[in-house]
């Protein structure tokens, strides 16, 4: 989902009217079409009680029903620090995906964050 370009504000009987293109664009957010993408941010911060302890969060997508093909994540906002290893992703479904990291050793403030792109 690229940056959203606002169509409104709408007024009764005035421009812009409710058009098929507008409605389809809205619907494609909630059910991505083939080739579509949904983008967003994730940020994980937590504690690891021991080496390889796992810390994660399920990122719910706006799109439902459409089966995704892949998810790509980066660490553009926060490189792994405080003992965090490079984050990974699993459990990719039509509802979202799991993003997680493990810690290299017991850590009280491991964190990482960045962008995600779900490809449909």
């Amino acid at each position: 989902m690229p940056n959203y370009v606002k169509t409104g504000p709408f007024t009764n009987g005035g421009a812009p009217g409710i058009s098929a293109a507008f409605l389809n664009a809205i619907e494609n957010v909630f059910e991505q079409s083939a080739g579509g993408t949904e983008t967003g941010k994730y940020f994980l911060q937590g504690q690891g009680y021991t080496s390889l302890a796992n810390y994660g969060n399920y990122m719910e997508s706006l799109s439902r029903t459409t089966v995704p093909v892949s998810v790509t994540i980066d660490q553009a906002d926060q490189a792994p620090t405080g003992g965090a290893n490079t984050p990974g992703a699993q459990n990719l479904t039509s509802n979202g995906f799991l993003v997680f990291f493990t810690v290299g050793s017991a850590s009280s403030a491991a964190k990482t964050g960045g962008n995600f792109t779900i490809q449909y």
Binding site: I73, G88, N115
Partner: protein
Amino acid sequence: MELRSIDKDGTFAWPCHTSDCDFHDDLLTAHISHSTVQYQRPSRGEVARRLPIDAKRRWRASGAVIALPPCLDCGSQTFLKADFVPRDLLYDNVFLRWQDELGDHGYLVRPSLMRSFRLIAMLHEIGKFPEQPLLPMIPVSALARSPLAELSLTQVDKLWLRWLLTGKRCLPELSWIDDAFHEIAPNFRPFSIDPRKALQ
């Protein structure tokens, strides 16, 4: 991001998702045998059964992904969905509707999904994907010995998946392709999914 190509030798390519990255337009490439191309799934403790099928014979997604090598420029990493279940094929946007220049309609499996199925099959062949793939694909080694050898892998997969999922045969003049499929997989019964219902 999705795979853009996959060759018979196991080399595949995909773009980086970062718009200002050098590899957004110049694709990243890797070979299936590379150590950074990895099957990953939640640990055994998080998954009740080895096979993604429960007691009522319903497939359960295992959560598995195929991790691709990180981008050489920006470090972002792509994970391909690898735990497809039959429901994914029945109810979601698996098929694309297309119309040829004569106005005839047809259905094709989404190319992005098709390449994922092919990659999973290739990784399974070399022992890097331990689960049984949902969809059997024609092994590249079998292609070399069949009349299909003259077609590209993409062409074969398009026709194979259409036959596999819908049972739809090729045009009469291309019946040799159906014959080749039956020769390679004589006992296989197509899923017989109706794309029109899957597209609703």
